[in-house]
């Protein structure tokens, strides 16, 4: 049960990572118009989310008993 709970907790990682990166991109592009900042934010959010999801899967593989054995 603890491992299932760990997976649930770990599932927050992609969203938190992507949102953090997108917020930083928004702040860094303060000179741009709001619509362009928004587009930039979306283009940062998507790959960051994909990267976070890959990281999630890699940690899950490390947590699996087969890998540990």
């Amino acid at each position: 049960m603890n491992r299932q709970a760990a997976v649930i907790g770990l599932s927050l990682l992609p969203f938190v990572l992507a949102s953090g990166c997108a917020f930083l991109a928004w702040e860094a592009a303060a000179a741009l118009e709001a619509a362009w900042r928004m587009i930039l934010m979306v283009f940062v959010w998507i790959p960051a989310f994909a990267g976070g999801t890959q990281l999630f899967w890699k940690v899950v593989v490390l947590l699996s008993p087969k890998t540990q054995a």
């Binding site: 491992r3 997976v7 649930i8 992609p14 917020f23 619509a35 900042r37 928004m38 999801t53 899967w57």
Partner: protein, 316 residues
């Protein structure tokens, strides 16, 4: 709401008996004896949602204001459900389906034509102009509908996730001052709860594409209608993660053909197929039976629901 609950349960019960002899059925592959069960159970949710919405509109017809928005969102949800029915009956091509869902979002696009901004928590309102009704609305409905179609296949999972997501959106719509959208959210939630009672382990009926596409379409429609787009995105994260894991594989969306389905061991625990997916993550970390797997996945959905509520309360 009571009408939606009773209608959904009654129609689903009728379908569970009448559909299998008509050939509208599917094999429950996650049981050792592989029983045959009724498919396309989402039709019960669709009928319940339409009945509940019509009664609500009938009662509040005299009130102007939110009624057009309610009708537009309800139309988009039911049209998305009809695309699901067509998909269940004639197995629509993957290329045609998104266009049909875009067509289903037209009522909501027309109703939100005057809206041009999106609110992002922590940042504020961002002007998108005509991009909002013409691009963001159809894109959100299509993406959400297809996402929810992926994270599926276990007893109670689709209806349970839909109940949690739509119930959360109804609650958030109410506390942010959108009572008509909240009412639609409650009708949809109770329609899924009625269906869930027969879809929970061991299932007597499956939702089919009708139930899954409509759940995603409803989540997007409620989020757009109440201006809670970011919260709807948060609620879609588990399905989005599943999509991403399958998309980033060497052979996107061909994994089931290549690696087969999840198998059931003699002790009832599930053996995942050898490709990344959210459900496989839970199966990989420890031996788990179908019922416990669905409880874990619903708990995961509940965590994101709590996150969506937290974000709304912290950034009102």
């Amino acid at each position: 709401m009571a009408v939606a609950l009773v209608t959904s349960y009654s129609v689903a019960k009728f379908e569970s008996v009448k559909f299998p002899p008509l050939g509208i059925n599917g094999v429950d592959i996650h049981k050792p004896d592989r029983p045959v069960r009724a498919e396309m159970g989402g039709l019960a949710v669709l009928i319940a949602l339409a009945a509940g919405s019509m009664i609500y509109l009938g009662v509040y017809f005299a009130l102007d204001g939110p009624a057009p928005l309610f009708a537009a969102a309800a139309s988009t949800i039911t049209l998305t459900g009809l695309v699901g029915v067509a998909d269940d009956v004639v197995d629509l091509s993957q290329k045609l389906k998104p266009f049909l869902i875009v067509a289903a979002s037209i009522p909501l696009m027309l109703c939100l034509l005057s809206r041009s901004s999106i609110v992002i928590p922590g940042i504020g309102s961002v002007q998108l102009g005509l991009l909002y009704p013409l691009v963001a609305v159809p894109l959100a409905v299509t993406t959400s509908a297809n996402f929810s179609n992926l994270l599926a296949g276990f007893n109670g999972l689709e209806a349970g996730c839909a109940g949690i997501s739509l119930g959360t959106m109804a609650f958030l719509s109410d506390i942010t001052g959108h009572p008509a959208v909240a009412a639609l959210g409650c009708i949809a939630t109770f329609a899924y709860i009625g269906f869930f009672m027969l879809n929970w382990y061991p299932a007597r009926i499956f939702p089919g594409d009708t139930g899954t596409l409509m759940a995603g379409g409803a989540l997007a429609a409620l989020g757009l209608a109440s201006g809670l787009e970011f919260e709807a995105i948060v609620l879609s994260i588990p399905a989005a993660m599943d999509f991403t894991l399958k998309m980033m594989h060497r052979h996107p969306f061909k994994q089931r053909h290549m690696f087969g389905d999840t198998r059931v061991r003699a002790d009832g625990t599930l053996e995942p197929a050898a490709y990344p997916a959210v459900v496989h993550a839970f199966m990989n970390v420890s031996p788990i039976k179908e019922k416990d797997l669905v409880v874990s996945l619903l708990a995961m959905q509940a965590v994101f629901a709590a996150l969506a509520v937290g974000i709304t309360l912290v950034f009102p």
